[in-house]
Point group: C2
Chain length 251, copies 2
């Protein structure tokens, strides 16, 4: 059985830093991990990847060969992943069998994972009940109600598209004041008072969006800093509950 955990979030939300921090934290708790990098365009990662899409896909060569700029090259690189699904699945399964958890760091730009087709071919390779999607709420976006609703809708969009169990984390909270974190967590439970303050077009879907956020509040939203380590324990416990029913790591 392969327990697989995908870290997904907008560009700059801190996926790679969180992968690295989680690796250190879970390893210190005795969990043996497999780390997968699925971003063909990343230049440097702060962890040692056990499976690395860059072993199959050479982004710089795509730039040269197809004479593409970075936008086009990223799309081509992401779509080329589909050609190596069998190999990647085998690599992950082989290492995953003897690991407590496989952590998957996804492409920098969320839309390459959320809305291109290769990602479904990977996620559908593994059973839903041993999969978890960790969706990152970038702190930069949660300090006002419009940003908070907007990123909540993006989370719902990704959940419907990838169809996996999800947990949410609020990243880089070292950049927020304590009351900003508190306010965002309050909106999660009751967005309606804040929605009243919205004006213009943002009000148009506000009632339905509020209801969506309210339903979503059943999913934990864990404040976290990969820099200070705050919140890692909660996320570790959440992953442990998902995969080993909260028991100590067996592998």
């Amino acid at each position: 059985m392969t327990n697989i955990c995908y870290l997904v979030g907008t560009a700059g939300s801190g996926k790679t830093m969180l992968t690295s921090a989680l690796q250190r934290y879970l390893t210190s708790k005795g969990a043996s991990l497999t780390i997968v990098n699925l971003d063909p365009a990343v230049q440097h990662v702060p962890y040692q990847a056990d499976v690395d899409i860059r072993d199959y896909i050479d982004y710089d060569r795509i730039v040269d060969e197809y004479k593409l700029g970075p936008n086009g090259a990223m799309i081509v690189a992401a779509d080329l992943i589909a050609d190596y699904i069998t190999e990647i699945r085998e690599d992950i399964e082989e290492l995953g069998e003897s690991s407590a958890v496989v952590l998957v760091d996804t492409p920098g730009q969320i839309e390459l994972f959320a809305y291109r087709n290769f990602s479904l071919r990977i996620t559908e390779s593994f059973p839903i009940d041993s999969s978890l999607l960790v969706f990152l709420f970038d702190s930069l976006l949660v300090s006002n109600i419009a940003g908070f609703l907007s990123i909540s809708l993006l989370a719902a969009s990704v959940q419907i598209r990838l169809n996996l169990p999800m947990t949410h984390v609020m990243t880089k909270i070292d950049l927020l004041k304590p009351n900003q974190i508190e306010t965002a967590l309050t909106w999660r439970e009751n967005p309606y008072d804040a929605i009243e303050e919205l004006s213009g077009m943002a009000r148009e879907f506000s009632l339905q969006t509020g209801q969506l956020v309210e339903v979503m509040s059943e999913i934990p939203l864990l404040p976290m800093s990969a820099l200070t380590g705050e919140g890692l324990e909660l996320l570790g416990a959440q992953i442990s509950r998902t995969f080993v029913a909260g028991e100590d790591w067996l592998i």
Copy 2:
């Protein structure tokens, strides 16, 4: 008065092609246009940009200077746009005054426009009632209900974030069969029957998402192909209704 129309959509959804097709179409109808490219990382555009962010920001130099990969360089390039807001606004205003419409082609990756802060500083520079956001539904995503709901939620996310009047277009319909276009338009009016077929996690928010899509159906969703020109007339008429109350273009 500057009438400004932003084309926004996921990577590969066809923003640049639609900008170019719209330019040709509206010009042929007698409208004088200003074309703005806001993507610092694009290598080639098929139109002559009147205002070009690449005159201010050199993506290749960012790659070299900051020693960044494409993900990081794109974020830095997008965030650097904030330093040139005054210049860009002045450029747009100066040309926009004597144009019927300003068409703005946004960065390739939607999240750079939707979720970084520079974009609000541009959109808030112009009055809401002379602004229009054209959101692109990529045909690749609308051929199944999960993809359709997912991209609808993304559209709502962008609307709440940018807070502008919106119209929706379904791009690249030359890649779809006629019945696929018809089905997507049916979902737009009534998503509930199709939602019944969803399973697993995708069902979790399905009722609320259905309600959101139903409210959204008041916004037109115009099927379109920049390749064949199909649908351009409808979008042109929509833009004309927004900016010149459906009258002939005066400028």
